[in-house]
Assembly symmetry: C3
Homo-oligomer: 214 residues x 3
């Protein structure tokens, strides 16, 4: 375990993975900032959705570069898998944020409920926490407390999102008169909540990685 640790791959000889994982995390943050703008601004929807889609494509490309780099670098299979899984799950979260965004364009709901704005804010905060955790990866062996703290914070945000989700759905069924709007907004609220869950899944994955390498 000492020889074959994720840390040893991040020593001078193999410094390329940390920057690539950091790049993916920063795309996730960027997409989440744009998503929050989309849900708060009430305008420039098309432009913001295009920018989020552009981030999603960037995310795909970085994930591709990570795969390629893993393929060309001699490291043991085990670590490859963890880097791959981490890149993959960040990519999934970016995809989910993209879907949450595209639904605004796709469904053009008549109004944007408060719950969706709150959820978009939670997603942005969770993405930033996750970025903090990814930035701590090189120090994993010396100190895993910081990463644990970030994962805990993400878990708290996910719980807060649960409450916002519940309130949002309950208000929707009580107050929305148009059934078509109920259908559209219910799915948007659910997709946003799912985005928080996806970021929390990355947090869980980080905790599993810590279990193995710290």
């Amino acid at each position: 375990m000492k020889i074959n640790s994720i840390f040893s791959n991040f020593t001078p000889k193999d410094t390329k993975f940390i920057p690539l994982l950091k790049e993916t995390a920063s795309i996730l943050v960027e997409a989440s900032i744009l998503l929050e703008m989309l849900y708060t601004s009430g305008k420039r929807h098309k432009e913001l959705c295009q920018q989020i889609k552009a981030e999603e494509i960037k995310g795909d490309k970085v994930t591709g570069r990570i795969s390629k780099a893993l393929n060309e670098t001699f490291i043991t299979p085990f670590d490859r898998e963890d880097i791959h899984a981490l890149a993959d799950e960040m990519d999934n979260a970016i995809d989910c944020i993209n879907r949450s965004a595209q639904k605004v364009l796709l469904y053009s709901p008549e109004n944007i409920p408060k719950s969706t704005v709150k959820l978009a804010g939670i997603i942005r905060k969770a993405a930033e926490c996750l970025q903090d955790a990814v930035n701590e990866l090189p120090k994993l062996k010396k100190n895993d407390q910081q990463i644990r703290k970030c994962c805990k914070e993400i878990k708290k945000l996910e719980e807060a999102a649960d409450d916002v989700y519940e309130d949002g759905i309950m208000i929707l069924f009580k107050e929305e008169k148009s059934i078509i709007e109920v259908i559209k907004l219910k799915e948007m609220i659910q997709e946003l909540e799912m985005s928080v869950n996806k970021i929390n899944s990355i947090g869980k994955l980080l905790k599993t990685i810590i279990v193995k390498y710290a």
Copy 2:
């Protein structure tokens, strides 16, 4: 494979994981019993939902203790992962049961269709089968037949749930006059069916673990 088996971690020196996995399985069973009561009783909804939520929180805590224990125990990375995955998937099933329960409160449907009652019963039975399988884990190397039998039974229950789900949805679209009720009940039936699927996923995972260690 002999040296590095899950069984060796369950010998006197590392006896803590089996009790923790058993505890998670019993939380799953407890949550499923409460869920069945929720769908059959027609009253005390709030109280039952709170009790299920309490089980879900207990589940989170035990999973946390498993992570912590894995972190403090010297065992090989491979086995850690299996224990982690097992705890994680049981936690997912508990979460899904909790969501199935909370939807009763969240949506307050006008009536509880028979299909949901049947599905809740199947979930409870599947959870009990799974508990039986988890209780057999210490004997894995001597005899994996019992675990295989439990997994098979869970698979059968999942197939039965499929039929109940189909009938439930078909009846819903044919007989329910209120579209809002269709929306609510369709999602409740789907979430219940998903809970059965999640328990079946744990069964599949157990079979993968058997493949490696038996």
Copy 3:
């Protein structure tokens, strides 16, 4: 990594896994051909759904045989897992195709929108690409370019499916007058799109396997 490669398990001594994986891939293709017929023909719905269900059961059985064979063959745990994961994800895709089919019977929508027909066609093409990739597995070590090419093609098909999905949903909300039809067709379009995603997930898994063994 040389000793413990997936390739070494496919040498004369352990030739059983490749045929079983190929069999699973051909069931996936068969199910997707029937699905396309179901969405294009407009008749024989019940018969086609039964045939697809029969493929799904066949898929379950082959996956079971793969598990059993893995259990009886001495190969290292690592490779077992990859074969297991590959079989499992193909099984998931077949399940999803089956669900996409059964919804035609279950929901009996008044009409079959063009988007669903297009999606069924994309699923069939993606399944065929995947089969091509699986057929290339024995040559993995000599040449992984062909598998990479298939995975890339599947990714493209998944992107095309995204566009069809978006158009389909948008048209549905704009033009469909019956809300019940909106509910039914939205879910059918989403399930079809999910089937493409599941096939793309197998493509992603293949790329991860390539990363390890090529």
